[in-house]
């Protein structure tokens, strides 16, 4: 696995990219959900490593982070989870299909989680277990070298974000983009919403002038209708809070997998 796997994931048509907070409500549920999302046709799966103070998140994912940490999830737990998913081992209760998951994975977490682990050590572990890219929402263009240079040495994609307020910066960010460009749909934090920035088409056009790297739109998307509209503007859509909320409400790992498998199938259909 490598960063080219991420870009290749967009070759089969518009990409549905789900996000899960690892360890919420427990690691078994995350394992079951990731398998279900992969089977439903997710192009890439974003795995969130919980952080105590996730400043880019709205309440749904904030609370998921709190629950995951309270349940004992650590960065190493998440590495182990990925290792098991790639190896095709069953989950702890032995009820899941053992087929290895081959869908590209990207980590989404916060700078301090990676920095404190040691950037080099963190990237090595990503390669060992089979994660292909890294998203750090509070590491902008100005600060990315410290992380991106190490990712580059390990053939991992350091994924850049473009926001509705990025005027004048879009092309500089896009020129250095790897994996995909994460286009933030609206102002504010993550979380389900009804309205999005109005100039996304113009931003997409500016990104395309500077790079061939695919563009995925995220923040706030939850329904198939929204996914269809956003997918038409770009190469894929990212859905986080809607999935995290459903995983948290499920009574068991199997139920979470059923619910989210069905949801993901509908979203995959919608974005096509």
């Amino acid at each position: 696995m490598s960063k080219t796997d991420i870009t290749r994931a967009f070759a089969g048509g518009k990409a549905f990219i789900p996000f899960v907070t690892c360890g919420d409500p427990n690691i078994e549920t995350t394992a079951a959900v990731v398998r279900a999302l992969a089977e439903a046709g997710a192009a890439i799966i974003e795995l969130g490593i919980p952080f105590s103070d996730p400043t880019a998140e709205g309440p749904v994912i904030q609370n998921a982070n709190v629950r995951a940490l309270a349940g004992g999830t650590t960065t190493d737990t998440v590495f182990d989870l990925v290792r098991d998913l790639r190896a095709g081992r069953p989950g702890a209760d032995g009820t899941f299909a053992a087929a290895p998951v081959t869908t590209p994975f990207v980590f989404m977490t916060y700078a301090n989680v990676v920095f404190h682990y040691g950037i080099e050590r963190f990237c090595q572990r990503m390669v060992e277990v089979g994660v292909d890219g890294l998203i750090l929402p509070e590491v902008p263009l100005e600060e990315k070298d410290e992380f991106a240079s190490v990712c580059a040495q390990h053939d991992l994609a350091f994924i850049s974000l473009v926001a509705p307020t990025s005027a004048g910066r879009i092309q500089a960010i896009a020129r250095e983009a790897e994996g995909f460009v994460y286009l933030v749909s609206s102002l504010g934090t993550t979380g389900m919403r009804d309205t999005f920035a109005t100039d996304l088409d113009a931003i997409v056009a500016q990104i395309r002038e500077a790079t061939d790297v695919p563009i995925a739109i995220g923040f706030g998307i939850s329904t198939p209708d929204q996914a269809r509209t956003m997918a038409a503007k770009a190469d894929g859509v990212i859905v986080g809070s809607a999935i995290v909320a459903q995983a948290a409400e499920a009574a068991s790992p199997a139920q979470a997998a059923n619910t989210l498998g069905a949801y993901a199938k509908a979203m995959v259909e919608a974005v096509r």
Binding site: D53, A111, N112, V113, F115, H116, A163, T165, G188, T189
Partner: protein, 396 residues
């Protein structure tokens, strides 16, 4: 002291979501212009002198000096500023800057409530909207300041996330800024966060050491041997240190909140117990666990109850220019009571941390030595909490 990328040694930087980058770059450019604009400086100077009451007194604490029996103790009376703390120095500067930039709304975090009150005050004066984010726990332990802010026309949002204290108030204010950035300035209260905030806030607080220096030269004809200030994020401390950084004979002593002690988990002494990390927009020292999760810190003082420290302090620590010492709740409360009885001055519990350390070192110093302790704020807001600490059933 800042290099072009907003770094202090390895510390500092701009670790914020892309959504905010244009806003902080715009702030950086505006500040670069206005800091050397004579008209802006004249307007700020007028506000500081004729509204906030500067220059603040440098008071010779004669009874305290006699009682401790060592160095002469001077108190820099930031508690006498309008709104009762040093916070107004920074807030008037930032609010005026924001106004010049065409911003209509100020948002701010607050711990003890002093920065929130100062921001609400400046917003009232300059006819701007104001919303303040304050940890739920702090709204309870500093209830009077919450009402004060509302009286000044600000909206106060209690924050329930995380530990419901200053750290979470900062996170929530950052989130709100990403929500509405075009007409809004984040009036950050300390020398922390992403560049250019640590530099802007330091420059606006540097008036403290500028005045100490000239007042001391006038009074004593010499510089002090040591200057002391409490450190949470570190704004009154950097203000107290700044114009002495190049005077190598002047000891710079920052007093951190040790809570129940630095060998316990209930502490907020970041330099003494933390490690290098990236959080709230900056690289600096933070209290954190083995996986980089930010620790739930503790101090009796809501204003020092923060798991990080400003990047310039981290750098002054690295190069050995400043010392950072821990002071416990007990020591701070003793100093709070001591100054009240000895000098008739009730200090903020934050400032009492610096006083407590002065009380430790002054007796061993020479009688010809001089120390300056910055009284960053007044203690009216703390009276009920200290009474409860001493076992009295007193509520505001």
């Amino acid at each position: 002291m800042t290099n072009p990328e907003g770094r202090f040694g390895v510390h500092g930087g701009q670790y914020v979501p892309e959504t905010l980058m244009n806003a902080i770059n715009e702030l950086d450019e505006a500040y670069a212009f206005y800091k050397s604009d004579p008209a802006f400086q004249a307007e700020l100077h007028d506000l500081l002198n004729n509204y906030a009451g500067r220059p603040s007194l440098l008071y010779f604490a004669e009874r305290m000096t006699r009682d401790l029996g060592g160095a002469k103790v001077y108190l820099k009376r930031e508690d006498l500023n309008h709104t009762g703390a040093h916070k107004i120095n920074n807030v008037l500067g930032q609010a005026l800057l924001a106004k010049k930039m065409g911003k209509k709304r100020l948002i701010a975090e607050t711990g003890a409530g002093q920065h929130g009150v100062a921001t609400a005050t400046a917003a009232a004066l300059l006819d701007m909207e104001c919303e303040v984010f304050m940890g739920r726990k702090d709204t309870e332990r500093q209830a009077l300041n919450v009402y004060r802010m509302r009286l000044l026309g600000a909206k106060v949002h209690p924050v329930d996330s995380g530990t419901a204290t200053l750290k979470d108030a900062v996170s929530e204010t950052m989130r709100e800024w990403t929500n509405r950035v075009a007409d809004t300035h984040y009036c950050l209260g300390s020398v922390m966060g992403p560049h250019p905030f640590p530099t802007i806030v330091r420059d606006f607080q540097a008036v403290i050491s500028q005045e100490i220096k000239s007042q001391m030269l006038e009074r004593e004809g010499r510089l002090p041997n040591a200057v002391l200030a409490c450190v949470g994020g570190g704004s009154n401390a950097i203000g107290t240190f700044y114009h002495f950084i190049d005077d190598e004979d002047v000891r710079l002593i920052g007093c951190e909140a040790a809570g129940r002690g630095i060998d316990t988990l209930e502490t907020a002494a970041t330099v003494n117990t933390g490690s290098l990390g990236i959080f709230h927009g900056m690289k600096s020292y933070f209290c954190q666990d083995e996986y980089g999760q930010i620790s739930p810190v503790y101090s009796i003082s809501a204003g020092l109850d923060y798991p990080g420290v400003g990047p310039e302090h981290a750098w002054l620590h690295d190069i050995g220019r400043a010392e950072y010492v821990p002071v416990t709740d007990d020591e701070a409360v003793d100093a709070f009571e001591y100054l009240s009885r000895t000098e008739g001055i009730i200090p903020a519990i934050e400032s009492s941390h610096a006083l407590a350390h002065a009380m430790k070192i002054v007796p061993d110093m020479d009688k010809s030595d001089i120390v300056v302790v910055t009284l960053s704020g007044r203690g009216d807001k703390d009276v009920a909490a200290i009474a409860r600490y001493r076992g009295e059933d007193l509520h505001e």
